[in-house]
């Protein structure tokens, strides 16, 4: 494939962890023109979750008759007080919030708590599980909402002083829910082009070419190369169900700090299932391991190789920061697929 030649050096951000992984796995960066640089953004839900969650979850798991349910990636994140959630018999891997609801039904004597990390993509499934808990009157199932929304984080990034992002590769999965319209703020408010892309390397290559073309023409718009899945208005049923169950709240992002209205909390009428309220949990705090550069990496200000811990002490087997823990983190992708001389 031949790319258009950019008129000036450009930096493009892929927001989504699945894009980061596909780019690394396919070796795509080696095919780009020299003056096109890809940087990874804050789109891996595990990576943007503060590590204090692990300590909070660990303490929660020690309470009597508790079963904690989590996506697999979260289990390997190191906490500040505790090493990780791995190996705790009262922690179970679930693939969805519905699985946790099933566990709650099967274990009526236990409090089953789901660690609900994720973006707009996992929010509808979680909302359905909560509505189902309400319908079936299941009182031992609780949702610990750590859900985040993509737009406030991108706005925060673009409003930082030293941000140099010329265009965005927009996440196809999130766009499937929020639609093309969900990214129109990029050209409208920030004059940045964006291309909604699928996850095959071919999708990503084509989307990057479109971004180069738009930048060469000084055009900023949203284009959609994932039209087989993403509709202009998105999935309105999913949007409605998110709005029915959740409302925006301030949320703490690893690397970006507290961002106003960037999270989703359960509405008052669903507070019976809200683990924060039911167990009277303290808010998360932002303490990160010494030397860890995940914060700058998530903002696209540094590359993994610029972190002093990368490959020296921080490795997939012994991760320090979340970008190495998650299989979709920028550091894990770089370590596994891009670095030349391992170990």
């Amino acid at each position: 494939m031949h790319f258009s030649k950019p008129k000036r050096p450009i930096q493009l951000m892929e927001i989504c962890g699945t894009h980061t992984m596909s780019i690394a796995r396919s070796g795509l960066k080696s095919l780009l023109p020299d003056d096109v640089k890809l940087i990874s953004g804050p789109g891996c839900p595990v990576c943007v979750t503060p590590s204090s969650l692990i300590d909070l979850a660990y303490d929660l798991a020690q309470r009597p008759n508790t079963l904690l349910c989590s996506y697999g990636d979260l289990l390997r994140i190191p906490g500040n007080k505790y090493s990780s959630l791995q190996g705790l018999s009262q922690v179970k891997i679930c693939l969805s919030c519905m699985d946790a609801l099933t566990l709650a039904k099967e274990n009526p004597s236990k409090n089953v708590i789901f660690l609900g990390v994720g973006f707009e993509t996992t929010a509808p499934g979680s909302a359905i599980a909560i509505l189902e808990a309400q319908r079936q009157n299941i009182q031992n199932f609780f949702f610990l909402s750590l859900l985040k929304q993509t737009k406030p984080a991108i706005c925060t990034l673009l409003e930082q002083e030293n941000t140099q992002i010329d265009g965005f590769l927009c996440p196809g999965h999130v766009a499937a829910i929020i639609g093309e319209q969900g990214f129109s703020f990029l050209p409208n408010q920030y004059h940045r082009p964006g291309v909604i892309s699928g996850f095959n390397p071919e999708d990503i290559l084509y989307s990057i070419e479109l971004l180069i073309q738009m930048l060469n023409q000084d055009k900023s718009a949203i284009q959609n190369t994932y039209g087989r899945i993403v509709k202009p208005q998105g999935n309105q049923t999913a949007q409605a169900i998110i709005q029915k169950v959740f409302e925006p709240q301030d949320s703490l992002w690893r690397g970006l700090g507290n961002i106003s209205k960037s999270g989703l909390q359960l509405k008052k009428e669903y507070e019976t299932w809200d683990a924060w309220k039911r167990f009277n949990l303290p808010p998360l705090t932002n303490t990160e391991p010494k030397g860890c550069q995940c914060a700058s990496i998530l903002c696209g200000q540094k590359e993994p190789k610029q972190c002093p811990l990368f490959k020296t002490v921080c490795k997939p087997q012994t991760p320090i920061g979340p970008c190495m823990v998650s299989s979709e983190g920028a550091c894990a992708a770089s370590y596994l697929y891009e670095s030349e001389d391992l170990l």
């Binding site: 690394a24 796995r25 697999g72 990636d73």
Partner: protein, 325 residues
């Protein structure tokens, strides 16, 4: 009696009953029936290959097999990959108190069927029982003896090619699905099978350098092991890698890479290209040339991706955990 009791491992009457009524009749053969402390085997008249492997798979029953079939295939395959024709196996059972005897019967039956199909006899063994909750239902160790048929080595030649005998990762994917209770449309069975016939076909070629089965760590890790003791490097071609569509779906869903999922019935052979083409036709079942040996980048494995880029492949690090979205 329905369940295994501690007494079944005591060496007393219940142990004898289990051996006499279940194990010996299932594995029935001349050497075992004598029930001496060891089996007396005929003079082999050639060098021997000797291997052992322990099986702790969880769950013990999975789509396409069970721990018994796996324990027999695993050691038979190791003997074959070392250039041997497998002849005799031992079978050591470590069973958790409370395990159902009917399940044990099913496991032993699978072992016998698999061994018989490969013309292998299970000639000696042992049974131990461990207390409830001190283990995970059942563990099996098998050791095996084969007669050396073909000496293999890491002495490759430039432009030798790499043959894979079938699609990658079905075993790893099916175990993961059984363990995590995931259901997808379509059938995904473990590839767990005995490689004796296929290995013998490969051994018939003079240019065969080496045989390996890509078990734990998958095709990528095994390929690195094949070159790290040689003076050569290897290139794999993503476009040629055979992946079952169900395995690919699971990998897409969970963020796994099929190159790192375990196979239990696939073999990798390194040999010259013309012989490899003929062998693929003989092996059928989707056997394919997936890569080649090169003098460039010794001891390193590279993947040519579908979009024409190149990236280095490393050994598996860490257990794959399901990703979030």
């Amino acid at each position: 009696m329905n369940d295994i009791l501690m007494d079944h491992g005591s060496g007393g009457q219940l142990t004898s009953d289990l051996i006499d009524e279940l194990i010996v009749p299932t594995f029935k053969n001349e050497q075992l029936t004598e029930l001496k402390d060891g089996a007396i085997l005929p003079d082999p008249q050639n060098k021997l290959v000797f291997s052992t492997d322990s099986f702790v798979v969880d769950p013990w029953k999975f789509p396409g097999g069970n721990i018994g079939k796996l324990a027999v295939c695993g050691t038979i395959n190791d003997l074959c990959m070392a250039g041997g024709i497998p002849k005799y196996l031992s079978c050591s059972l470590i069973i958790e108190e409370g395990f159902h005897i009917n399940d044990l019967r099913a496991i032993l039956h699978s072992m016998q069927q698999t061994a018989k199909n490969a013309d292998v006899s299970i000639v000696t063994g042992d049974t131990k029982v461990i207390e409830r909750q001190k283990g995970n239902q059942i563990y099996i160790n098998t050791a095996g003896i084969g007669i050396l048929q073909r000496q293999t080595s890491y002495q490759y030649q430039e432009n030798d090619v790499v043959v894979l005998s079938g699609s990658m990762g079905c075993h790893g994917a099916s175990i993961f699905m059984a363990r995590e209770d995931i259901h997808l449309q379509g059938e995904l069975l473990s590839d767990c099978t005995c490689l004796k016939e296929k290995a013998m076909k490969a051994m018939a070629y003079d240019s065969l350098r080496i045989l390996r089965d890509p078990t734990r760590g998958g095709v990528a890790t095994t390929c690195i092991e094949l070159i790290e003791k040689s003076d050569f490097g290897m290139e794999l071609y993503e476009a040629l890698l055979p992946v079952d569509p169900n395995v690919q779906t699971l990998c897409d869903l969970l963020g796994f890479d099929p190159l790192y999922l375990a196979c239990e019935g696939r073999m990798l052979c390194i040999m010259n290209e013309n012989d490899a083409k003929q062998l693929c036709e003989q092996l059928k079942d989707g056997a394919k040339i997936i890569g080649k040996i090169t003098k460039e980048h010794p001891q390193k494995l590279y993947l040519k991706t579908k979009i024409g880029a190149t990236r280095r492949l490393h050994k598996l690090s860490g257990q794959p955990l399901p990703r979030i979205c």
